[in-house]
Amino acid sequence: MSAFISLLVRDMRIAVRVGGGALMGALFFLIVVTMMPFAIGPDLGLLARIGPAILWLGALLASLLALDRLFANDHDDGSLDLLMMGRMPLELTVAAKAIAHWLTTGLPLVLIAPVLGLMLNVEMHAMVWVALTLLAGTPALTFIGLIGAALAVTLRRGGLLLAVLVLPLTVPVLIFGVAAANAAIVGPAPFGPPFTILCALSLASLVLGPVAAAAALRAGQE
């Protein structure tokens, strides 16, 4: 367990230092949300209506863009090989890295979402709900993306391939995330069912993601 925690702390420390790019995701999120009114128009009524969807889409793209960093640096300097040789099961190693990644890129997205919501004219009480759905849903994005990141790093390809592999798998998360946010704000459907399904997606990907990612890393090593 101590190995798990020390790996977690190490990854977080690297992420917040210079070159780690922990806040880059949040910055990208801000820019995407800023670009939306330029494309859609400054109609505040319309923005308020589609605000939760814009926030979810922005968070999805921001967490997708940060995925490259999950393994690429460790792969380049060789520490990934060391981690794979370690005594801790590879699944746990990968899970620790993913949790650290979520804490440094997913959580900031959740935290700044209410501020960005103000810019989109989403009401204050509604913002709490949107942030709550993001809190429940972004772990799923990270853990599904983990599989793609592991596949991409073993193939020494990143960028677009990663997006092509991961985005279709995140469709259910986006659907239930936006459904839960809309249910909380405008109704009339109850908030509970989509939100619990969103939580279920996060929990399921928490289990499946590390197993598949570890398998991908092992397969790539042969």
Partner: protein, 246 residues
């Protein structure tokens, strides 16, 4: 004969070369029979002759899902049993599955225009079919980007297994939204809701499509084995050339 006997590519090629003409003839015969049944089948009282698109659309949809099943089995073969032909099978199945999904989307779109009044709606089944198509393209993209066949097929196998989780979600999403597209009418409690005069040609066409799939799949596997042999020979040739120059 055990499945491990097929591990020898030469033996497998012999069997394929013997079986393929029979399969092809059977496919053509079933299709001809199915098409004659379709010509005799009645038009829908509401949709008219456009209902006949169904005989292409529905089997293509079934096959697109079955093809992912074949790919998942092949993925297990690659990752768990390390069967030498499993990755060949998976690689051969991916483009065929993508093609069936594409046929399903196109025919569905053409069918939607006269019946729903629009080529495309963001309804549960259409959308999940589109996602399935995107997943197929993702698997194909993996094969396209990786030079080494072994490495690429292991990565694609993992993606295929992860994507297999998507197929239950397709079914689930039908229940969750259920907007424009009619719910499943063939496999449901209380038996089929389709009249036998339409059901029979549909099942014949589904059989024809399945036979077509196996014909194409075996042919594609044969081509892939030959392609890998050509690749290996070229590598040896290039190596010999390099040594001769040195």
């Amino acid at each position: 004969m055990a499945i491990i006997d097929l591990a020898n590519p030469t033996r497998f090629l012999n069997i394929v070369n013997r079986a393929l003409p029979w399969l092809a003839v059977a496919t053509v015969l079933v299709f001809v029979f199915g098409l004659t049944r379709i010509l005799n089948s009645p038009d829908d009282y509401q949709q008219g002759a456009t209902v006949k698109i169904m005989y292409l659309h529905v089997p293509a949809a079934w096959l697109s899902m079955m093809c992912w099943g074949v790919m998942s089995l092949a993925a297990l073969g690659t990752l768990v049993w390390k069967h030498p032909l499993a990755d060949v099978s998976g690689k051969a199945a991916a483009p065929i599955g993508a093609a069936f999904t594409f046929i399903c989307l196109v025919t569905g779109s053409l069918w939607g225009r006269p019946t729903w009044g629009t080529y495309w709606v963001w309804d549960a089944r259409l959308t999940s079919m589109l996602v399935l198509f995107l997943l197929y393209l993702g698997v194909l993209a993996l094969y396209w980007t990786v030079e080494d066949p072994g490495r690429g097929s292991r990565a694609a196998a993992i993606l295929a297994l992860v994507g297999a989780i998507n197929i239950p979600i397709i079914k689930f999403s039908v229940e969750y939204w259920n907007t424009l597209h009619q719910p499943a009418s063939l496999f449901r409690k209380g038996g089929s809701a389709i009249d036998p005069s339409i059901l029979l040609p549909l099942l014949v066409m589904a059989t024809g499509f399945t036979l077509l799939f196996f014909t194409l799949h075996l042919a594609a596997m044969r081509n892939e084995i030959l392609r890998r042999r050509v690749r290996a020979m070229r590598l040896i040739q290039a190596q010999e050339l390099a040594e001769a120059r040195a």
